[in-house]
Amino acid sequence: MEGRAIPTSTSPLLRFRESYGYVAGFRTRSNLVYRLTSAAALNSPAGALAKTRDPQQETSQIPRTRGSRTALAPGTSPEIPSNQLVSQKTKEKNTGIETSCDETAAGLVDQDGRLLANVVASQSELHARFGGVVPEVASRQHLLSIQGVLRRALDESGTEWEDIDAVAVTNGPGLAGALIVGVNVAKGLAASLGVPLVGVNHLAGHVYAAWIAGHGPVTPRMCLIVSGGHTELVLMDEEGRFRMIGETRDDAAGEAFDKVARVLGLRYPGGPEIQRAARDGGRTESLPRAWLRGTHDFSFSGLKTAVIRRARQDGIYPPPPEGPPWENVAALAREFQNSVVDVLVKKTVDASARYGCGEVVLAGGVAATRRSGKPWPAPRTCPLPCLPWRCAQTTAP
């Protein structure tokens, strides 16, 4: 083994971080402290501009990760909760841009956080034939959509470009190529208007979106972020400060839905398809639930394997020429969904009890899933049907 040449080129992710000056983590790590990042951390001309224009906003937060490989902009200084960026000014209109995955979105809020416009261009039909989001396709489509989406957000809210007082943008984690589009548009917009630029962690965005529903912050609060790429329990112990206390050890819940849907002969995206099939599920099936006691972590890989095993026994997979028996598909879909939701609900409720949380936030596509015949405890869907994901907010028992 000795004497082997070790390639010297740096990792693409590192190079990416260096070039773009922000963290585009492909995955999040345990015990990671998420913080909203602000203009200086973006290390952009717009960031510098923002600093010179408004001295109050010179302070900023930098993303911190456990490791040392975080993009740190030169001259970053002390921390303030990012929402002060909003509260320090009056008569303000702030725009937010999101392109982390397969939806191009732009929104406008006033200084009280009231939503003035929220425009989303979904690419899900474009990706359906691939059975999932294809990064290259996503970034190209973002490029095509972003200007129209922004324009429409302005029109809907009766805003002109010059009326924008700050620009916020999702700066990761997400698909690198997709994030670049939104971040560069935001940088350009902020630079040309001479307004502050705020980089927002994608997951923090999920959590903070619950605020738009009109209620004030309650801390500590427990956030379950559950989507195609994430299954994470995030504790928000003070405003702007997040601590990951549990995450999946193998498959994300949404990914398990997509893969099980494929095994059951259902279409992509798997979540709604499985939910639809589950309604016809009469017969009782039995699938395991991975509790991983003593931790707040999740595991869905064993469940996926168990479904594949049952699907083989029930003549569903590999699909027979005449198609799989619907009764079996429905029963398995129902039990699979119940298994996932049982684990998500119990672990979230347990964790929120342990940390004394007054509130639980559910975010991400899978949060829209209901256990058959039994909804999430006391659900209240956010009055924002146009958001790309749905979130329900509940009060912990």
Partner: protein, 170 residues
């Protein structure tokens, strides 16, 4: 050159009766690989590709759980050397794989572990270790590990010892 590779090709087949054994096999691979090495994994849905990857990442000195990269396509872990964990599950053609720009990872400074590598096996450099995982029954998996890269052959001695201990205890 081709013949040369064939002559030096090594192969071992191990039977795993538990997730912990698959982890152990992964750990052994992880303890032997160095930057620039590529591990190609193939096997049906639920065979244990991510499980094996977890072992490899632990063998490389990280305590992190490798998670399925199906959705994000590439995961990165901070181990003794960077580990790039990729997944071609959602891709169907050579062109799609080519369009991902994996070269930066494959010829980079880390260890690459690629799930569903059989979707584009001709895409990868010849210097790699390939692992085929076959689902024998609910609990049992058969792992066939193969490499024509002579520099990776020390892995086979270590794997042979695991094989002996599995046979001994079974």
């Amino acid at each position: 050159m081709k013949d040369n590779f064939r002559i030096h090709s090594m192969q071992i087949t191990l039977e795993s009766h538990a997730t912990s054994t698959t982890h152990e096999i992964g750990r052994t691979i992880g303890s032997k690989v160095v930057p620039g090495d590529i591990v190609l994994l193939s096997g049906s849905l639920g065979a244990g590709k991510t499980t094996l990857t977890q072992g490899i990442v632990w063998g490389l000195g990280s305590a992190e759980y490798a998670r399925s990269p199906t959705f994000v396509l590439v995961n990165e872990y901070d181990a003794r050397v960077p580990v790039y964990h990729m997944d071609l599950y959602r891709l169907d053609s050579f062109e799609e794989v080519d369009g991902l720009g994996l070269d930066d990872y494959l010829y980079g400074d880390g260890v690459c572990v690629i799930e569903w590598a059989d979707k584009a096996s001709s895409y990868f450099p010849e210097r790699h270790l390939s692992v085929f995982i076959r689902t024998v029954s609910d609990e049992i998996r058969e792992l066939t590990i193969e490499s024509c890269n002579t520099e990776l052959h020390s892995i086979f001695d270590a794997l042979g010892r695991i094989g002996a201990s599995i046979t001994g205890s079974a």
